[in-house]
Assembly symmetry: C2
Homo-oligomer: 419 residues x 2
């Protein structure tokens, strides 16, 4: 054998999930259907279908209801099955440094809601998880969120998020960060977090860097939602980013991708916290920009003051942004030549400088990118704010859960399949 | 709706393909099965299963046979279904500049064989397709390859490649190349090729750059077959490459990814054919290396002579390789920081210089890559030769056909799914 199927689940589990997906797909497309209609459309045997539907109803993803008496023509009323609009299909949680952000979508992929709460930077994980659970309980109405299997089976209560049909939770955290020393130096290790969340919600937990999740959210619902692969660059206290490739967030072999801040822009440059020399972060982080501005004679207490000066037309500030933007554009060109993104999204505080930064970025990009794509790659500012990473967590679940791993179809297939 | 399923096929076609996949999977795992056993394992209704099996038998992917009389216990013999070892599941064709290479695997994913034939550079596509078809006919034995549906149904003939159950053909071509002018200047446009092949073989055609397909093949069966994302760099007359991300070949938004040869290494460097300045290709192509060698006083008629000199310990040659390797390592570090590959594979003629090139590449790479992965990223020489791109065509089909799009499971899922 050259190669064989590799799967984490056994064939029966995969088959069951495939059948569940078929049934959910049919209910999404056709609306309420009887068991007989589901049988006809799905091609599943009566026994298999009964079993699959029972599991979906028990999990809360699907609800059974009988049409009102006056609609019945004759004989026994036929029960119809439909998606439960209050069933949480996927939840996103962003554990930022000093706040928890949550978002949820239902089984029809409609947004149920988002919520946030600030907290102290040193709050332990268990209490952060408490906040997340409480915030989720507020979504969709007044009810308490909780595993549906814990209590007696009830009909759907409008406005109450039911977690029993959750397929997974997507979670953003600060880190894995740019170097192992830094990771170990963090006040809070994330080691216990996945187990804690898995125990609390009873479903798989997908964990990723929250900057990377913000990249995914920009690709799915933000500045790059019109499709295509995305290069997301975040210019903040650190310089990082993320890549969305073929409709999926790209993690890299060691969870270390999107480290645009540590691409060398000057081999003779300043030492970087990562241990390297002349990394982009040494010239484009907020501190580096402030330092360069002050060294050139500018006066600003913080980055807000610098941005105000730039907005007021301060020539030193513009010169600094011109230099920084050129270095950024060079790095973006190198990455673009390697990866070929459709859209480049720039977020983080420095992006608020607007055209004074974006224009030199675009000039340098277009000078160094392959001529064939010079006028095709688009550069845009990020549009999602604080909720970005929690939304990214949901997008991660929708893309990676076994139920939805092929959603949406990667753009690459459209390009490749010749009709 | 935030988002919905997007699919190229209708739901019924997708469902049918999913059922076909289930049946083929079961036969791969269990060996020969009766219809009743298939029904039990698959959960499909008798009617659906009969229909699916009939299609697979008609297409030649599955064969029905009755065990010998002495094995029968009682009553009517039970027909068993099994995969047809002579059924081509996927074919790869590399239309190189002056040769056609073909390879094929059967429905059990076993290699049926490979074959090559040289031709003149200006041979029209129709005649190149003739060569490909003839070469395919020689695979697996003496029989003629051809669509199984064209003739009366026959049992499998051992040693004859049957194309009736082909899911797709993966095809490598020279291009899309590095600039549009160059593409238009090619003697042969590829415009008519996909239609020609589709008409001849009656299945979808997946077309890609053959360097990129070589990258995929190295990832699946070559130097990087131990898994993980791959950065493949080809150092030849041009400098190009490919990225394998999450188990799939990455194309980029405009089919322009893996253009490592056009990443700037010296903004004040030599003009490049692409229109840029100081691209890696201006220092690392075979011509550039020869030019630098001669400028430094070295004497070599061609790259073979240069490689011989280097192998014999020529100091000028080693100094040139040291400089070139350093530039290559810088570019590989930048791309690694962005993409996070597990393995870097270096192919093309210049890779034959061995350690004299690879060592400076590795030094520069480790100096400029993120410290966290400094000792994890592996650099290797390519191991597949001329057949690489045709094998890559097969890998493309196995990864991208609807039947096998989830094979193998991306490594990223292993990292992400918390148990």
């Amino acid at each position: 054998m050259l190669c064989g199927m590799q799967a984490h689940d056994g064939p029966l589990t995969r088959l069951r999930k495939s059948h569940e997906q078929s049934v959910l797909d049919l209910l999404r497309k056709h609306g309420p259907l009887s068991r007989a209609e589901l049988g006809t459309h799905s091609g599943l045997s009566r026994t298999t279908l009964y079993d699959i539907v029972a599991g979906l109803v028990e999990g809360g993803a699907v609800v059974a209801s009988t049409p009102p008496a006056e609609v019945r023509r004759r004989g026994r009323p036929v029960e119809k099955l439909s998606l439960n609009p209050d069933a949480g299909e996927a939840i996103g949680i962003d554990f930022a440094r000093r706040a928890v952000h949550v978002s949820a979508v239902n089984v029809a992929h409609e947004m149920i809601g988002s919520a946030s709460e600030a907290h102290a930077a040193d709050l332990p994980w268990a209490q952060r998880a408490d906040i997340a659970e409480r915030l989720l309980g507020t979504l969709g109405g007044s009810g308490q969120a909780g595993p549906a299997r814990n209590g007696p089976a009830e009909g759907p209560r409008p406005g109450t998020l039911r977690l029993g049909s959750l397929s997974a939770i997507g979670v953003g955290v600060v880190g894995p960060i740019t170097d192992p020393g830094g990771a170990e130096a963090r006040a809070l290790s994330i080691d216990g977090l996945p187990g804690l969340l898995r125990e609390r919600f009873g479903v798989p937990v997908l964990l990723d860097n929250n900057t990377r999740l913000a990249a995914l959210a920009e690709a799915v619902w933000g500045a790059a939602s019109d499709g295509g692969d995305v290069l997301y660059l975040r210019l903040s206290h650190g310089v990082g980013g993320g890549l969305v490739v073929g409709g999926s967030l790209h993690r890299g072999m060691y969870g270390m991708s999107g480290e645009f801040g540590h691409i060398t822009v000057d081999p003779q440059g300043a030492p970087c916290e990562c241990g390297g020399t002349g990394c982009l972060e040494t010239v484009a982080s907020l501190d580096a920009v402030l330092h360069r501005y002050r060294s050139a004679g500018g006066r600003a207490e913080d980055i807000a003051a610098f941005l105000s000066a730039a907005a007021a037309g301060d020539r030193i500030a513009h010169a600094v942004l011109e230099q920084v933007g050129t270095d950024i554009g060079m790095v973006l060109a190198a990455v673009s030549n390697a990866v070929g993104p459709g859209v480049i999204v720039i977020g983080g505080e420095l992006a608020q400088a607007g055209a004074a930064l974006i224009e030199p970025v675009e000039r340098a990009l277009r000078t160094h990118v392959m001529p064939m794509v010079r006028n095709q790659v688009r550069v845009r500012r990020a549009t999602l704010g604080d909720a970005g990473s929690a939304l990214g967590g949901i997008a991660l679940v929708l893309h990676e859960s076994p139920l939805l791993s092929r959603y949406p179809q990667p753009v690459t297939e459209e390009l490749a399949w010749t009709q």
